[in-house]
Amino acid sequence: MTVVQPLKGEAPGKPASAKSGDLAINCNVSKIYYGSFLAVRDARVPINKGKITGFIGPSGCGKSTVLRSLNRMNDLIQGFRLEGDVHFLGQDIYAKNIDPVVVRRYIGMVFQQPNPFAMSIYDNVAFGLRLNKFRGSYDERVEHALRRAALWDEVKDKLKVSGLSLSGGQQQRLCIARAVATEPTVLLMDEPCSALDPIATRRVEELMLELKKDYTIALVTHNMQQATRVADITAFFGVDISKGGRTGYLVEMGDTEQIFQRPRKQLTQEYISGKFS
């Protein structure tokens, strides 16, 4: 990590065992329900530290659902219920005594649609710092975050301008800056490029590769080329329509190269060769 002042508050616990030492998140979901609807089953997705883990699969395969359950964003959806556990650095974040709000401060999120707040660029980035009652140089920290997000040179002369006045690609990088300003441990990215044009997508992808030096990233993408370009490890999700519903599940997971070159499952082979989407 770069040398910046730590946030107030206790650091998350140390890894529970040596075995999970190289894992940032060990996701061990057996079932996710929305009401009575079984949305996802059998998703055991370990997220390695300092790597980009890509989640790919057809629409409705539950890849976003799994991603959003990694920082308890699904708690906000009525009827959401998760069976299994998700360990973040050794702690089960679904345990009774866990405060989901604190979890989200360690596991940041970048959304599909760029969603800056209706405030200045500076305030957008400083928002999380203020929220955490950060004591230290805000200017320094904001600049650092904007540099990390490769946005500094474009906005350094207009920090007081509305975050909403930026272009879509710039807005998304602003959201990334906002997410990294508080130095989270893990960044969850839910199709961060799907609303962006190819050039902006390119920049965000370069940014992800840059960011993985300091952060663990989990990336949902609809774009298989994107997964091959940035993901170290790829998890392929499929949809099971056998029981009438549409239930997503993890088909296979492995090094990106292996998934795309030598998939073990027939379904993966068919998906990556474009037989269905």
Partner: protein, 291 residues
Amino acid sequence: MTDTASNVPPLLTHTWSEGRALRNGVLTIGAWAVALIAAVPLVSVLYMLIVHGGARLSLELLTELPPAGFEMGGGFGNAIIGTVVMVVIATIISVPIGVLAAAYLAELGPDSQLGRVSRFLAKVLTGFPSILAGVFVYAVIVLAMGGYSAIAGGVSLAILMLPTVVLTAEEAMKMVPRKMKDAALGIGCTRTQMIWKIVLPTALPGILTGVMLGVARVAGESAPLLFTALFSNYWLRSLSEPTASLSILIYNFSSMPFDNQIELAWAASLVLVLIVLIFNVLSRLFGRAKY
């Protein structure tokens, strides 16, 4: 029919012979006419106020007390102060309650039983006869305090303002994009922090519009004030004594057999409209979306 197959170019020019074009023309003119008719009452009321009340408009109106029977001159400074004071009291009471209730309706329990019931009641209250608000406050506050007062007047106006504030503030908060709320929660806000730091500031222009609608509605109310603030011919000295207001002054003076008083009633009507207008412009200036 078009015959693009042959080399004759299709007819693209305007023609009235087709029913479609004719109907379009008739409906457009109709819509214009109806829009004009809708503007007639407002424009004619304003015109009348300016013609009748404009002549008496002077600084004297603001600094002097209402004249007695055969007196000439005079003004209604006490009534302006009374109206402004009571509207401010009503705003101070209804805005915090209204905005927090709206936050509950929009964010915390939109589909809860309590939410549904209070939203329904707020809607019922928008059509609540204003005189009943006066009677209610008369029974609860005037009788208890032992007399008419600016406070009682303010409370009765607050009751009338509240539903407008609640319903428009709820709409304004619902307009804040879901993705912005998600972003706030995703960065580690509690729901309370999300509401205070993101939803309220983002919805502020809309909330202020609702407050203004409420102010505009109650500033001209006379029925509830008859039961609560009554009237006074003297300057306001305390909030617990009978208080003058423009609307009651208009009501009183317009039925008097003296030209001077009738002229003052016209001028007071114009001033009342101007006050509402000034409130409106100010709230737009301060409430404009900054980002």
